[in-house]
Amino acid sequence: MAKRKITRGGDALHLRLDTAGGVPIYLQLIEQIKYHIATGTLKADDELPSVRAVASAQLINPNTVARAYLELEREGVIYKRRGMGTYVAEKGVSMSTEERLNIVRNLMEKALVEGTQLGLDAASLRRVFEETLEKFSSQ
């Protein structure tokens, strides 16, 4: 029997899309691309895989990918070169300070929920944060 050919289009982009959580797929795409920019996996002028490549790799509707790209382009995070591909914008990378803060903010919120459920008050939570930050900075 003939071997299955492995075909891929465009640069790989690690995406994990999930339909169980009720978050629309195009929003997950936007968030994850921003995350890759914020963490430095994607840098300014890096080329993003084509709409078709993302759709085929993730088995999602090409319109969904196009919608996410359009939104990111509107926000200035990515840009298109006519007849070429889609690239990460300089502005997208610098804007991502806010994105980076957001990632930390979300993680902190989770810790705070956990702490509150364990019956800790705001003062002790603040103390733990200061202590941890101090310990971390001195390393």
């Binding site: 339909t19 088995l59 509707n61």
Partner: protein
């Protein structure tokens, strides 16, 4: 407003006393991937067979690519790609013979593309059809249906009973078709989570009737779960759109259709405080749509 690839109006099909399709109205916009959802026996296959002129409607009308399938059957066969829920090929032929034979039926046939797909799927051209597994059979059908570059692809339960690799092939084929300008894919399924990834429009039918139809996100968001905190044994029965209540203590989870300001005010009036409004997946939303109210009798 985009043109409609499929238009169904007041469709009724009865088998004896049984109304398999019971007054169905549906429009499938051109350029969409349309998921036609329903439980087994909801009337999906019957509807599709009428679209393909394999059954005659008892009442109502259907239009496929602007034409009546009963009058323009031959022309539509060339423009529409169709894989039934139980595709049967000539099982004495070899894979390559079927590919050649199918090519004689279609004016826009692309033999090279079909050969490339057969190779991509890892099928042996010399193998007899009767020796193909269920999955290989499905792959061959996909190769044949993509070979004539259909304007509209109709798939009846395409992923049912197939392993994960072949289900991927099915979804990839759908994406390949839709990537060409102005193409439409209409597929029925009861595997809702797969539909959720790929479809942009969905319809849910039950007992031959349309329950809901529209953009996937709108259909999904029609149902919400609302987490409510309450002090006493309050009764939320008067809340508009209420479909069910889980829990009996201080925290209740209400399932509500078309949740909005009105329902929120009613919850507060009843003595509850809304803690969180939770979005559902399409699958959860589907279950709420097609399940009769109330749980199992205990």
């Amino acid at each position: 407003m985009a043109a409609a690839a499929i238009r169904i109006a007041g469709l009724v099909k009865t088998f004896g006393n049984h109304r398999a399709v019971d007054g169905l109205d549906l429009e499938v916009p051109e350029g969409s991937i349309f998921g036609f959802l329903g439980r087994n026996g909801a009337g999906k296959t019957t509807t599709i067979k009428i679209l393909m002129n394999m059954l005659k409607p008892t009442a109502g009308a259907v239009e496929v690519l602007g034409q009546d399938p009963h009058i323009h059957e031959k022309e539509l066969k060339e423009r529409v790609g169709y894989i039934s829920d139980n595709p049967v090929l000539y099982d004495w032929m070899k894979v390559e013979e079927v590919a050649w034979f199918a090519g004689q039926l279609y004016p826009r046939w692309d033999q090279q593309k079909v050969a490339a797909l057969i190779e991509h799927f890892g099928l042996d051209p010399k193998q007899k059809i009767k020796h193909l597994s269920r999955g290989m059979n499905a792959q061959l059908n996909l190769a044949l249906v993509l070979g004539h570059d259909p304007e509209l692809l109709i798939l009846d339960e395409p992923a049912s009973g197939l392993d994960v690799i072949v289900r991927r092939d099915v979804l990839e084929s759908i994406i390949q078709v839709i990537s060409a300008e102005g193409r439409t894919v209409f597929f029925s399924s009861h595997l809702v989570h797969e539909v959720e990834r790929v479809a942009d429009q969905v319809a849910i039918i039950d007992q031959g009737k349309l329950l809901v139809c529209g953009e996937l996100d709108a259909v999904r968001q029609q149902v919400k779960r609302v987490l409510v905190r309450t002090e006493d044994a309050v009764d939320f029965a008067g809340v508009t759109g209420l479909r069910g209540v889980q829990g009996e203590g201080r925290q209740r989870l209400l399932t509500i259709f078309d949740y909005g300001d009105e329902a929120k005010a009613q919850i507060e009036q009843a003595g509850g405080q809304v803690v969180e409004v939770i979005d559902l997946s399409l699958e959860e939303s589907f279950v709420e749509h097609v399940t009769p109210q109330g749980g199992l009798p205990s």
